[in-house]
Amino acid sequence: MLKIARISKSFKKVEALKDVTFEVENGEIFGVVGPDGAGKTTLFNILVTLINPDKGSASINGFNIDKDYKKIREVIGYLPGQFSLYPDLSCYENLDFFATLYGNSIEENYELIQPIWSQLEPFKDRRAGRLSGGMKQKLALCCALVHRPQVLFLDEPTTGVDPVSRREFWSILKEIKKEGITVLVSTPYMDEATLCDRVGLMQNGELLKIGSPENIVAEFSGLLFALRASEMYPLLEKFKNLSGNIHYYPFGQQLHIAVSHEADVGLLYDFVKEIGYGLLDLQQITPSIEDCFIQLMAY
């Protein structure tokens, strides 16, 4: 179990983390979701004992990140945001190297990495630097798992990875979870939040909300409408004239409109008619987790 209590960290004038507190249960996939610069990487670097927080404390399975960092290093695996294996070593040599650093051999935990490693096996003598992006990520994951960590940290593992590989990567994470490994994953993609057991939304170094995706969706306040737009830009221009406590934002092909008070719904209907849309174009929808995050972040 991870306990993070009131952690703050500043770099010169930038406050990277402000009073972050949360807990992660054993065996769950916990997602830290937030835009670039939210402080996700700093949080992970603190938890994997690469940097010390200015304030606050954290513990992983009872080990304090400050005092027991040596013990923590034995029980965690870390997949950094940027590829940081040795590009001039082959896949096998990288894996063997990291297994040995943890005092293990590849064979000891082979069944854990086998599903991933089997895909890499045909390229095991290829240099890691010459693998494709998705393959690099899989190799890095193998290296982070080869000592069977109790907690696995993944810093933006799917950033820059194609959609098919992303889906595949998440199914691998579910498999890892089945092995009883706690997974902490950060991502800037809000749609990936639904794949986690619980998520924490981060912005500007603050944790805005923690909960399961279902709970977060249930806590959406007000009503949400979608307006199909043939051309988004002119529509946005027209919406600038809308009064009342109504928020709107483009969402793919549609304009999402969040109405805080039911009393304002009539106002919206009138406005839509006024700008020349039929009422059929406007539909009330159930909010997705992205809508919830936008609500939390923007207003």
Partner: protein, 371 residues
């Protein structure tokens, strides 16, 4: 132990995967030792001279024969007048003009001191200096001989002839001084530069983070990084010694084992220096600048180009903390003078202190934190 071995194995794998790096490591000793000692060759083996003989007497012919028989002087062409000779000198064709005056023989027989003019080409100052001293000797020698033959009674006003004898380098072969110097540069450079660049590269690539979060201990990391480069440094030095022995024919007068042991200690200090610089650098360029600056200062003060004994006091004081100066001293002492353990106590103690000090600093400054 397994961890350290894994690190060493990884380091060597990476070095041999880098086609430029391993070739450099193998060929650098050859390049440095084969090129520099020749470029800095200060031996003067030949001087092109023109003799203008206005006298054309037996005496002047004898003098010319003596010059020809000396071995250092080669007569250039058949120039017989001063203007042509000056011209050749100005075009750097010849090194020296010797002009024998008209009444040379007569003056000598009368006992009048004759004047022989010597014009020296001093574009190469070193060469000119050596040439002048040689010609002065030859002329003085010749004059004393003819005094004996013609001027009776012989009066030798207590002439003292000095025969100089250079110790430890009898033929004043400049390579004997320069080759140990190049060996010093080689070991210093390999030791400090390779280790720094390697560690900073890991920082640049982010792989150091992956290493930092493993349960690997600090000393394991330090050993794992030091041992490969220590071995490479020793390899370079060994190759250098072989080139020195078989190519330049310089035999190590003292004990080779002592030499290797001391190189080992010196390398520990240099590797430590490289490691320390890597702690404070973020990029390879930064670390390279620091190393090159320190390296040049150490080398210039080390006594490769000028003897430390002829340096001003403040330079001598700086040299008391200059490991390169101690190492240079050791190489010269052991290789040229056959120095033993007893002669080298100061150097050994100083180098050991440096190695221990710098490696303690590493233990103190090397932290797991990225910053």
């Amino acid at each position: 132990m397994r961890t350290v071995l894994a690190l060493i194995k990884k380091e060597f794998l990476q070095i041999f995967r880098n086609p430029l790096l391993w070739r450099l490591i193998v060929f650098i000793p050859f390049l440095m030792l084969m090129i520099f000692p020749y470029a800095a060759d200060l031996d003067i083996k030949n001087l092109n001279i023109v003799v203008i003989d206005h006298d054309r007497s037996t005496f002047s012919q004898d003098l010319i024969a003596k010059l020809d028989g000396h071995g250092l002087f080669t007569r250039f062409g058949n120039i017989q007048n001063k203007r042509e000779a000056d011209n050749a000198l100005e075009r750097d064709k010849i090194d020296m003009i010797i002009e024998i005056p008209q009444a040379y023989e007569r003056d000598v027989q009368k006992g009048i001191q004759p004047t022989i003019s010597v014009t020296m080409n001093a574009i190469n100052g070193m060469k000119a200096g050596v040439g002048v001293s040689y010609i002065t000797n030859v002329l003085a020698d010749f004059m004393s001989e003819i005094h004996v033959v013609y001027n009776e009674p012989v009066e030798l006003p207590g002439r003292i002839s000095m025969i100089s004898n250079y110790w430890f380098n009898e033929k004043m072969n400049f390579r004997n001084i320069f080759v140990p110097g190049i060996l010093t540069i080689l070991v210093t450079m390999i030791g400090s530069l390779l280790s720094t660049l390697n560690i900073v590269r890991e920082k640049e690539m982010g792989t150091i983070e992956q290493l930092n979060i493993t349960p690997m201990k600090k000393h394991q990391f330090i050993f794992g990084k030091m041992i490969p480069f220590w071995l490479i440094g020793m390899f370079e030095f060994g190759v250098g010694l072989l080139i020195m022995r078989f190519f330049f024919g310089i035999h190590v007068q003292g004990s080779v084992i002592l030499l290797l042991a001391l190189t080992g200690i010196f390398l520990l200090g240099m590797l430590g220096l490289g490691f320390l610089v890597s702690i404070f650098s973020r990029t390879q360029v930064q670390s390279m600048f620091i190393i090159v600056f320190v390296f040049i200062t150490f080398i210039l003060l080390s006594g490769l180009f000028t003897s430390i004994d002829s340096m001003p006091e403040w330079a001598k004081i700086i040299n008391t903390i200059n490991p390169v100066a101690y190492f240079m001293g050791i190489l010269k002492l052991v290789i040229l003078k056959g120095g033993t353990l007893q002669n080298l106590q100061t150097e050994i103690i100083s180098l050991s202190i440096f190695a221990v000090f710098i490696n303690t600093l590493i233990l103190f400054f090397y932290k797991r934190e990225i910053d």
